[in-house]
Amino acid sequence: MTQLLSPQVQPPLGRSSRPRDAAFAGISRGSGIIVLFTMGAIGAFLLWKALPALRANTVPFLTSTQWFPDDPQPKFGIAALAFGTLLSSVIAMVIAVPVGLGVALYTSHYAPRRFAPTLGYVVDLLAAVPSIIFGLWGLQILMPNSIGLWRWLDQHLGFIPLFNNSQNIYTRSIALAAVVLAIMILPTVSAISREVFNQVPPGHIEAALALGATRWETMRTAVFPFARPGMVSAAMLGLGRALGETIAVALILSATFSINWHVTEPGGNTFAANIALKWNEAGNIGLGALIASGLVLYIITFAVNMAARVVVERRRDFSGAN
């Protein structure tokens, strides 16, 4: 959010325009209120329509991994969904944040000035690609071509449980979904951190250079400390995006309700993918269960996005932007 001077001025009051002015002010304030109302309404409606299913549930909602909501004795729990969502998103972040920050830093401080805007624009193109195309590409191109990688990891680093694969099947895995997610959130991380990197006052960079710093040392001394809140915010916004991604994950994973740390094995599920996949075959309680899981997803992404904004707001006081 840019803190430009508020352009608000009050005109001298005329007689005949007052009701129209008031009406217009009311309409635009109303639009603002609709925005607020929508955010609250989302949570409220989701909760309301999820309650019947939650009440009918016979196993703990938060810790069970079963998903049979349309059984005579409904049983559904989000543990496996939470696990899959968090694990795939975290792995995606581990890949996307360093690469995104690297691209942003390169574009803002290393690339020749003539190419920098073009480079930024090209990387931003990734953000314009619809998620279904990511899913199609991931399924048809990346999946067959990455089997070698997962196999190598299994054979040489298999002592780490994460890379171990006991099935010797390397398709439709959380690892693959995480890689696709990483590519999808990369432009988000990159664009936001690029903006922050570009805002570092040139005076700080000059000060570092004048002390006899190499280019990388200048980044470490003048750029990173200044940009840190922005970098954290960029990472968190990327996380938020990964948590909520539906279609690409739904296409790639072979949805199973299990908690499996072997990420290169087939299986796994996320909140969003589960909703998309199970929606049309769900009965009444089934729909309610999916809505309940959607509510959990909403709360998690809401919290992550809020935290991302708060980080930037709070550190603004200490960042020395003044």
Binding site: V9, S17, I34, V103, I247
Partner: protein, 353 residues
């Protein structure tokens, strides 16, 4: 405590100032050596194809370059080079998937494209056979996005007007602004869930193209608010003051002076928002029923759309369907790119003026 000063000899001065550096051609040489070594290795031992050799070459390059630099230039420059290498690799790592996606969509999509693709539907087309088209999906997408724009753009622009012209740093304005930011991060499927629970279940709205349009509008609004807000803030204060000084009431000033002067930026922002939601699939899956035929009535009955078409074809799984999926993907990406590029072209044209 004064700083000790020594006189330093001219050799010491030279040492202080000078620095052994690797020659300019060193990067190319080390790169070439690493690639050659990696290729050699892949011929001798069964390492997997192109990707594996590239990784080996990269690792070799890193090790060789860093070691050389450390030996000749010292640790500070070795680290500096390592950092530069990492940054360039990050750039490559970002560009390779983009190139792969765009190329694949182009090549495979084109392959399945034929004259009839844009003008026929999937009605009576067997999933196993090639043929058929996306006319029904195109119509659906155009209508749904139009509905989304008709709802989302006015709401978004008005909310931005409120924030900029009336908000006055009030609690309401700050809350709205904060939550608009948070709203940009709503998962698209949650927007679909909201329309389903709030409108379809509660108010009895049918699953239809219209419901999909509302869900897309929810996704559009925060983007429109933010970009419009930015554009409105760029309009200089003097313009408003001049208008008031002439006795023009506030609502008229906003409608006739402020918004028109920011209009290009607002349009650009709106188009980019439209491009964003055109590719959304998840909310459509929850709010519409799919069909293989044309339905021009968005308020009643199942309606197809481009993203759900691709989804459906992928689900069919046959070779013919996958081909159609790629062709659909190509159409979708072309549509999104056209919207994007037009928006940026408009922005650039107005800047030139």
């Amino acid at each position: 405590m004064t700083m000790t000063q020594g006189t330093i000899t001219s050799e010491e001065l030279h040492d202080l100032l000078s620095q052994r550096k690797l020659p300019r051609w060193n990067t190319a040489a080390v790169l070439a050596t690493s690639v050659a070594a990696a290729i050699l290795l892949s011929l001798m031992t069964p390492i997997s194809g192109v990707a594996g050799t590239t990784v080996v070459a990269f690792v070799l390059f890193l090790v060789l370059q860093t070691w050389l630099s450390f030996a000749v230039e010292g640790s500070r420059y070795a680290i500096d080079r390592l950092a530069s290498t990492f940054l360039v690799s990050a750039l490559v790592a970002a560009l390779v998937p983009l190139a792969s996606i765009l190329l694949t969509v182009l090549v495979r999509g084109f392959h399945a494209f034929n004259a009839g693709f844009l003008t026929s539907t999937m009605r009576n087309v067997s999933p196993r056979k090639p043929g058929g088209g996306i006319l029904h999906a195109l119509i659906g997408t155009v209508e749904q996005v139009a509905i989304a724009a008709a709802i989302g753009i006015p709401l978004g622009v008005l909310a931005a007007v409120y924030l900029v012209e009336f908000g006055n740093r009030s609690r309401l304005a700050r809350s709205v602004s904060f939550f608009v930011d948070v709203m940009t991060g709503i998962p698209s499927i949650v927007a679909g869930l909201f329309v389903y629970t709030g409108l379809i279940l509660t108010l009895g709205l049918q699953r239809s193209g219209f419901a999909a349009g509302i869900a897309l509008a929810i996704l559009m609004i925060p983007v429109v608010v933010r970009s419009t807000e930015e554009m409105l803030r760029l309009v200089p204060r003097d313009l408003r003051e001049a208008s008031y000084a002439l006795g023009v009431p506030k609502y008229r000033t906003i409608l006739r002076v402020v918004i028109p002067s920011a209009s290009t930026g607002i349009i650009t922002g709106a188009m980019l928002a439209v491009a964003r939601v055109t590719g959304e699939t998840a909310p459509l899956l929850l709010t519409t029923f799919l069909t293989q035929s044309i339905n021009i009535n968005p308020f009643n009955g199942p309606q197809a759309s481009l993203p759900t078409y691709v989804w459906d074809q992928i689900g069919s799984g046959t070779t013919a369907s996958i081909d159609r999926a790629w062709a659909g993907a190509l159409t979708l990406i072309l549509l999104v790119m056209i919207l994007n590029l037009s928006a940026r072209a408009i922005a650039r044209l107005s800047r030139v003026k």
